[in-house]
Symmetry: C2
Subunit: 177 residues, 2 copies
């Protein structure tokens, strides 16, 4: 229960952030997250990720929420979930990750595009930075999850995959199942 993580992607800008938001979703899936919630996002992004899950295995839940994400976050807290907001202004991940890992509650990791409202810093249980430098919410999410799962997500197995890759020194080895 305590390692049950969901991601909430906020601040998506139609068209402009299409590929970045898709990468956020794919990283969430590949690194062991249970599911992702998109806010006001193109349907094709959800479909693209569902396709990957169908092909490469799951389970991985995707959902577009149309409502105000503030309400979503408040409901999450009301149901005793923990909010972790990834931001370059927060406390270093290595300082807080053990504490977060120990929490029994479900965790919602919030990943924003460029700017997020100040209220989010207040409502979050943790504001966590992956370096205090500007870089990428995709990288931040990957490093956070890698720290949280202590590197184990890297060899995660997925159920119902149609294809599996056999790691190889040179070239591509794929087996169908």
């Amino acid at each position: 229960m305590s390692n049950e993580i969901y991601v909430l992607r906020i601040g998506h800008r139609i068209e402009r952030d299409k590929r970045v938001t898709t990468h956020v979703g794919l990283v969430a899936r590949a690194f062991g997250v249970k599911g992702i919630f998109f806010v006001n996002t193109e349907r094709e992004i959800k479909e693209k990720i569902d396709e990957v899950t169908k092909f490469w295995g799951g389970p991985f839940k995707t959902e577009i929420i149309e409502e105000n994400w503030h309400k979503f976050v408040i409901d999450w807290k009301r149901e005793k979930g923990i909010i972790v907001h990834l931001t370059m202004y927060g406390l270093p991940v290595d300082q807080k990750i053990e504490e977060i890992r120990k929490k029994e509650e479900r965790k919602l990791i919030i990943v924003g595009a460029e700017k997020v409202p100040m209220g989010l810093y207040k409502i979050s249980d943790y504001n966590i930075s992956i370096t205090s430098q500007p870089h990428s919410e995709i990288a931040a999410l990957a490093i956070f999850l890698d720290r949280f799962y202590m590197g184990k997500e890297i060899s995660l197995r997925f159920s119902g995959a149609k294809m599996n890759i056999i790691p190889t020194e040179r070239g591509k080895k794929i087996i169908e199942s």
Copy 2:
């Protein structure tokens, strides 16, 4: 010398990959890479990253190469550099990272967009995967560098920064220097 890393970003598609390629550059800088080479990329991407370096510190080198990147890679090898190609088909990072870290030579990490030519798998000294799942070259680069630098890049200090963030539990603390 042995931890001198450069990144080569290939397969960039004008307009479509603008933000993803920018993220690749920002991650390279934030995670301790010496510089990045872009191939046939919009000038504004290089400028955007140079601006970040001016503001948040460096050093970090950016260069757009117009030539065929194959020639660039061959020259790199001729000058006794090592090529590491990040791909979901490669050997797991944890299996090879120590060996790569021990190499005295300069390293070129190649990060491609969707498909790369088969020749690259052959010319690379290492084809390395960060999970064998489809996700993001941005996340792959971040995890590779994190493993390579053993998590130390997370608290890297940059020279000549105009602004520095003081990590904080809630809100934003910035000091000008």
